[in-house]
Symmetry: C2
Subunit: 235 residues, 2 copies
DNA sequence: CGCACAAATCGTGTCGACACAGAAAATACA
DNA sequence: TGTATTTTCTGTGTCGACACGATTTGTGCG
């Protein structure tokens, strides 16, 4: 609940960076669930916390609304968008397809430099898993798949994939922090398999592995949700 | 070049609708190519034309930037995003996939009311083709596929599909207005086929027809572009 | 005691003004 | 005449203030 870092009383930041600054902070706090879903965001309160006028804050909120991370209630307030547990099916459907498509494209269109970046992300991911750091694992997993999407060189897919990964981070964050924190090392191996398929430019295998990877993640989330449901409705 | 409609000197509009109003106007003008790609958008000029302060105009621009319709050059100006003819491949790839996925989902998940809407859009489309009105055809085609995407009930796919359809409108608009305006009636028949497959809940056929439909559109755009290229490089 | 209505409160939507960055114009110099 | 430097100018980024809508609180009447 405490402000993550007290911003300088004023200035220090360059002109034009204000909205971006607010955007980054809010985005991280929303994805990390520091700002819980459904919580109203008060522009004035924010402007006091971040030591700047409402204008750049409103700009950040408009951007976040465009990405669906906040919801604007006209003439009332803007709230952190709720995670809709009843409509998770479209999410699972879309992220599975995007995992497949981006991995296929990466296998087809990647350059050597792309693979370097992907390997670096994978190393960070593996490190997070080794350290049993769930939060870091969630974040690095996002970056890993983002790197694959970037290697595919299709901005449309990449943008949708990033959006889905961020939504996924919120969901994962919700469950990993409240339930078990055992981090399955299989994910590391699955990622290695993806990398190998991409490097070999084996599109069919990349597709297959990505599909299986997505299925496994979906299955795990489903398990966590059902566990959660049971927990929420005690006998 | 003339302002489409002189807005009331002031007021008349309800509170909270300002940014939305500007957004709609700009969006239409960008997609209709009334605002040519690359043209800088002057906030002050716009505020004078639309008789309102720069604040709601900036909000509209931020939203449009989020959708990629305008590009913000920091501390300089925002310009209408250029159509990148060299990178059309990702566009073709994505719209083909989205046509397929949304049509499949529509075949699977549509309700009776969805079909009514789709049929209504198809009627408007057919009317535009009959009237040989290229501009109207482009617009109604967009609405037709948007209705199919809506029937699929996956917001992620729907959002991407809408974005692609709008970009497609810009491209089509560019070529239909400068080259031949003969409107192929086959499109009407293809649309009918899509509707039939959706109604029959025949997912495989819906996929197949959507794929063929997309291929045909892509082929036609490609033809127009190659014609255009020849035109731009005379011997 | 409960309900309809009025007043106050809260927060957003919009406005006009100022400050700074970048580009264009003007000037100086070789 | 061409190039480097300064100045002007245009237009964005940010600010503080006001106005209106929605909610909440307070009040009067049944």
């Amino acid at each position: 609940m405490a402000p993550p870092s007290k911003p300088e009383k004023s200035a220090e930041r360059k002109r034009g960076s204000g909205a971006q600054y607010v955007y980054n902070i809010l985005r991280n706090e929303i994805i990390d669930l520091t700002l819980e879903p459904g919580r109203p965001i008060d522009e004035i309160q924010l402007s006091e916390r971040l030591q700047m006028s409402r204008t750049p804050i409103r700009e950040a909120l408009v951007r976040l609304a465009g990405e669906g991370l906040v919801t604007t209630l006209p003439n009332r307030s803007t709230v952190v968008t709720n995670i809709d547990f009843l409509n998770l099916h479209p999410f699972f459907d879309a992220i599975t397809l995007m995992y497949r498509v981006t991995t296929r494209l990466a296998a087809d269109a990647h350059k050597a430099s792309d693979l370097e970046v992907i390997r670096a992300r994978q190393a960070e991911f593996a490190e997070a898993v080794m350290a049993q750091d769930a939060l870091s694992m969630i974040a690095t997993n996002r970056e890993f798949h983002a790197a694959i999407a970037a290697a595919g060189r299709n901005h449309y897919y990449e943008a949708l994939c990033l959006r889905l990964l961020d939504e996924g981070r919120r969901i994962l964050r919700l469950y990993y922090s409240s339930f078990d924190d055992r981090l399955p090392r299989e994910y590391v191996d699955e990622h290695e398999g993806l990398i190998a398929a991409i490097e070999a430019r084996d599109i069919a295998r990349a597709d297959e592995l990505a599909s299986a990877h997505a299925d496994q993640i979906v299955a795990q989330i489903r398990t966590m949700i059902s566990r959660d449901t049971r927990h929420k409705i005690p006998l």
